[in-house]
């Protein structure tokens, strides 16, 4: 390791190498010069070309030098790297290895979960969120429930428009936020009652996830039995199932502190609002207009019953979600 000590004073003129990712600026040269007089380099800094675990942070962090208020142990590597061709090769190798690993992971994930489809469901805007929340709480104010179809260049229908362009399209942002908010709100309520334990958060989350999974599986099974095919996607079902958290939060906040009649009237109102929302939203998917029936057996009456059952079981699910329980024993 003797060649390390010789580099202390010899490289002030060389600009710091930023891993070939971004241009250098004047202050970084100054910081690099400041780096020269830092404490001696740690000896494990020399990246072997064959080291699979080459520090991937080096190209991104090291050559900036320590900014005021920020301590980077990798800032000390700067002196070695630009003078050492093996080190440069090692860093390029590390960059390539990172890219290859990312692609590999993406391909594997793509097989189970379509990332493009997920992105479609998270493509929301503020206006969309507000109008959706208003539609959940005051569904009679919503003028039109029609979902716009996405067309490609030849005019063929390839799906539905994303939530950013269509206020009636289901999204996954509100359900995810609703789930997290529900867990936090239950934690808050239990805390205000004085019996909070940290594992209650886990129990609540598990319970909420259990309700969602149960409902999605049930709806999926009945969709299979009733020949509801591609007009109701799996992620659509998850999204519609997750909208109940919004109304549940509003009701469960009342439960510990309001008189019982207020809680139950809020439960009934929000339950009916959610049921109305579900019926109007799912009507296009489940019950086709008579003009568009092809050769498949539609079972129109059964589908209407199915839609009604979905809407009414929302009451049951909200009631289940309102039964929070703390794991602590009352003193």
């Amino acid at each position: 390791m003797s060649h390390f000590q010789g580099q202390m004073g010899g490289h002030q003129q060389n600009p710091p190498m930023r891993g070939a990712f971004s241009p250098i600026s004047a202050e970084q040269q100054q910081q690099f010069a400041y780096n020269q007089y830092a404490s001696p380099q740690p000896q494990h800094a020399y990246p072997q070309p064959q080291a699979q675990q080459a520090y991937p942070q080096q190209p991104f962090v090291a050559q900036q030098g320590p900014l005021p208020g920020q301590s980077t142990p990798y800032g000390l590597f700067a002196q070695n790297l630009q003078s050492n061709p093996a080190a440069q090769m090692g860093m390029q190798f590390a960059g390539n290895a990172m890219n290859a690993m990312q692609e590999n992971v993406q391909q594997n994930v793509e097989r189970y979960v379509s990332m493009r489809q997920l992105k479609h469901y998270f493509d929301v805007s503020n206006i969309y969120v507000l109008s959706k929340l208003r539609a959940l709480v005051f569904p009679w104010m919503q003028k039109s429930w029609h979902r716009y179809a996405e067309r490609d260049q030849t005019g063929q229908v390839v799906g539905f428009k994303s939530p950013r362009e269509d206020a009636n399209s289901p999204d996954l942002y509100i359900p995810v936020m609703g789930l997290v908010s529900y867990v936090i709100v239950i934690g808050l309520i239990i805390g205000r009652l004085g019996v909070f334990r940290p594992e209650d958060l886990g129990y609540t989350a598990s319970s909420a996830l259990g309700v969602i999974v149960f409902e999605v599986l049930l709806i999926k099974m009945f969709c299979y039995l009733l020949n509801v095919g591609s007009e109701l996607q799996f992620l659509d079902i998850v999204a519609f199932s997750g909208y109940k958290f919004v109304t549940t939060i509003l009701v469960v906040l009342l439960k510990p502190w309001a008189p019982w009649w207020m809680t139950w009237s809020a439960f009934l109102y929000f339950g009916f609002a959610l049921a109305f929302f579900m019926i109007r939203s799912l009507r296009h998917a489940l019950i086709p207009e008579s003009s568009s029936v092809t050769g498949v057996n539609v079972h129109r009456k059964r589908r209407i019953h199915f839609l009604f059952v979905i809407a009414m079981t929302q009451f049951l699910y909200i009631w289940i979600l309102m039964q929070y329980k703390s794991s602590a024993v009352k003193p």
Binding site: Y203, S206, S207, L209, G210, V211, V213, F214, L217, M221, Y224, L225, L226, N227, V296, N297, H299, R302, I320, Q323, K325
Partner: protein, 80 residues
């Protein structure tokens, strides 16, 4: 109360219940047999789909169910 673990146990028990239905002693008696004549014409009715679903569950899930049951039994015995 209604947690994810409970849901897993419940689905395991229900799948067990579906898997042990005997084809000839029970399903044929109540007309839900796999190879009965009514299925050839109409594969879209609810009854036909239900019969297909039950037979598919029984065919596919017998062996994984053995493994899942063993895991749950060991878990219940060892960890209570």
């Amino acid at each position: 109360m209604f947690g994810f673990g409970t849901l897993l146990y419940v689905t395991l028990l229900l799948l067990n219940a579906v898997a042990i239905l005997n084809e000839e002693r029970f399903l044929a008696r109540i007309g839900w047999a796999r190879n009965s004549a009514e299925l050839y014409g109409d594969t879209e009715s609810v009854k036909a789909k239900l019969i297909n679903l039950i037979s598919a569950v029984r065919t596919l899930m017998r062996i994984p169910l053995i493994a899942a049951n063993v895991v749950v039994i060991v878990y219940a015995l060892v960890l209570g």
